[in-house]
């Protein structure tokens, strides 16, 4: 049974559905990448899974249908999202951002241990722990957004274009961390990207999204081997 199983998902922002019957799944411990052009509906997919917008169809997470659940109960059930753009709280310190990430844990055991753990993973953040998040660089803010999402101890991490606006080197650093978390900690990841090259490198499986529909899926090699797909979607 997949960790996350999405079937016939319909969602949008008004009368018109952006997603019109989408299917996708993420297995336990899998690293799945979703590629698609601007406006394809990647962010909408993430929002629908996280319960931020109205949606229909079935979204089963660990055997429970969550398509009617509220956003906060979805976080509590183990799905954390790193929203697109700089999703940090600029007026809170780095530390308080991380504490905010542990919001659903009610300050329970191990919050500070977890904080130290993510500071070890992202030493740049540790150096700036008392600083306002708004004064961090774009890359540091993206690291903070990821660390903050991890503070809720998710089983599945949804990551919406973490590379947006980052230098290639920083992006690589970030992806390396995600890959390590996936490999060493068994964290399941659903990552949205435009940057096909880098992302496909670390993915177990790739989805191609076009105007709200999955048009192709498979391993990176499979998709890369298909000339038509490669030219149309991957651009290499």
């Amino acid at each position: 049974m997949p960790l996350l199983d999405v079937k016939d998902l319909k969602a949008g922002y008004g009368p018109v559905n952006v997603l019109d019957g989408m299917h996708l799944h993420v297995d336990q411990g899998e690293f799945v990448v979703m590629l698609g052009a601007n406006g394809a509906g990647k962010t909408t997919t993430m929002r629908a899974i996280s319960g931020l917008i109205p949606r229909h169809g079935s979204i089963v997470f660990e055997g429970h249908d969550i398509h009617k659940a509220s956003a906060d109960s979805i976080v509590r059930s183990g799905i954390a999202q790193v929203p697109q753009g700089r999703g940090t709280f600029p007026e809170l310190s780095v530390e308080d951002n991380l504490l905010a990430g542990a919001y659903v844990r009610h300050g329970g055991d191990g919050v500070h241990d977890d904080m130290d753990k993510w500071f070890a993973v992202f030493p740049r953040l540790a150096e700036r722990r008392a600083q306002r998040a708004g004064s961090l660089s774009g890359g540091e803010q993206q690291m903070l957004a990821i660390a903050r999402a991890l503070m809720s101890r998710p089983k599945l991490l949804l990551c919406d274009e973490p590379s947006l606006g980052l230098a290639p080197l920083i992006t690589q650093e970030l992806f390396a961390v995600l890959e390590r978390l996936n490999r060493d900690e068994g964290l399941s990841v659903l990552l949205v990207e435009q940057n096909a090259n880098l992302a496909m490198h670390i993915a177990n499986r790739v989805y191609l999204l076009e105007t709200g529909q999955i048009v192709a899926s498979g391993s990176a090699e499979e998709l890369g081997a298909d000339d038509a797909i490669r030219k149309a979607y991957l651009g290499f």
Binding site: L52, A71, G87, F89, E91, L92, G101, H106, G107
Partner: protein, 404 residues
């Protein structure tokens, strides 16, 4: 940035500063009722009422980012609850405070539900409507059996005394003494100075309670979720913050707290009506907003400083409508309008502040005080105990500035 000196947070110098600031605040609070007369004390009460209202608005707007131009209605809820219970049902004013809090909390929660679906300018308009409707409702003829209609409700001393404003002592028919189990700290209350001092201490109590609630809230887990909502609603939602419930709660607390200074105005003014208490008209709501922004939104001390400055300036310039009262050098600038210029002064101050210091007077302090003395945060990982709770309560502006 260069600074003249550097001290460590929680170190001796830092504590010396905190204690000094605490002493100054205590001295000021004690100075007014003991060394000045009824007039000054009345002005100070006005400032305290404004502080309470602006602090409660600050929870909602400064910390949670939800605008309200309707807080005058919540203050009015307090004033009318006290007015009605005291003059119609013969309650002691003491007991009206919690009732006012609860009723206003409920009204706040009700308002929050439409409010949690709308944002920015639309929310401003909805809450403005609340401020405009409130005086209409309480002066409505059909409700005059309860609210006294246009002429309002009297809450005269005699009634206050008859219903026993004394704690632990039988009421004496006339309000003569404020007794706490046989001890009367304020002396004969028939003297105007002593009576003013009596209302003053009640107002101080209300402000301290509101301050402590605000402080407790913003430093808690809920406080972080409030700032999270203000800064980035989507991110707050994916953090597991229940937006609707949190906004409803903050609206409720903010409204409930704002009712408390309303109760104070009801008993100290001696009557409740929209004409008698301007703070419960839309003018009040706008004043709270100005006070909060001038002092510094999103900081615990901002509204306190804002209200003090506002009332001080209003008081000084109150007589400036006639030329003789205006200090010589300023005469060319004021007096021509033939009305007290405090509104104009604040309008200009507001515009200037929005450009040079959008975080108000507290923001100016935070920006420039490090040039003189820089407070280094504690080394990572040590939270440190707080030896003197009161000192920490009163002087947190300093350490707070380093983290927020």
């Amino acid at each position: 940035m260069k600074s003249l000196a550097t001290i460590r947070e929680g170190g001796a110098a830092n504590w010396a500063f905190r204690i000094a600031a605490t002493v100054v605040v205590f001295a000021l609070v004690l100075y007014v009722p003991t060394k000045t007369g009824a007039g000054t004390i009345q002005t100070a009460i006005e400032a305290l009422v404004l502080m309470g209202a602006a602090m409660s608005l600050n929870l909602l707007l400064g910390y949670t980012g939800q605008i309200s131009i309707g807080h005058s209605a919540f203050l009015g809820m307090g004033a009318y609850t006290t007015g009605i219970l005291v003059s119609r049902y013969g309650w002691s004013p003491w007991y009206t405070f919690p009732v006012a809090f609860v009723l206003s909390f409920a009204l706040g929660v009700i308002v929050s539900f439409p409010a949690s679906r709308i944002k920015g300018v639309y929310l401003a308009l909805v809450t403005l409507a609340l401020a405009l409707v409130f005086p209409q409702v309480v002066t409505w003829k059909k409700l005059s059996w309860l609210t006294g209609g246009g002429s309002g409700l009297p809450t005269k001393d005699a009634q206050v005394a008859d219903t026993g404003f004394n704690i632990g002592a039988a009421s004496r028919g006339q309000m003569q003494y404020f007794e706490i189990f046989g001890w009367n700290p304020l002396g004969d209350l028939r003297k105007p100075d002593n009576k003013a001092a009596f209302w003053y201490w009640i107002a101080v109590g209300v402000v301290v309670i509101i301050y402590l609630v605000c402080r407790g809230l913003v430093k808690s887990r809920v406080g972080r979720s409030m700032v999270a909502i203000r800064d980035n609603e989507t991110a707050a939602a994916v953090m597991g913050v229940n937006l609707v419930a949190t906004k409803a709660f903050v609206f409720g607390i903010s409204a409930g707290l704002c009712a408390l200074p309303g109760c104070v105005t009801a008993i100290k003014t001696g009557g409740v009506s929209p004409e008698g208490i301007q703070s419960l008209t839309v003018r009040g709501a706008i004043t709270f907003l100005i006070v909060m922004v001038v002092g510094g939104a999103g900081s615990l001390w901002g509204p306190i400083i804002g209200a003090a400055v506002y009332v001080y300036v209003t008081d000084i310039t109150g007589g400036w409508a006639s030329d003789e009262a205006i200090p010589g050098v300023l005469r060319p600038f004021f007096g021509w309008a033939k009305i007290p210029p405090s509104d104009g002064i604040f309008a200009v101050l507001l515009i200037v502040l929005m450009f040079v210091a959008p975080r108000g007077l507290v923001g100016v302090w935070r920006q420039y005080s490090p040039r003189i003395v820089r407070v280094l945060p504690r080394p990572a990982g040590t939270t440190g105990a707080a030896p003197v709770a009161i000192a920490a309560t009163i002087t947190n502006t300093h350490s707070e500035g380093e983290h927020e």
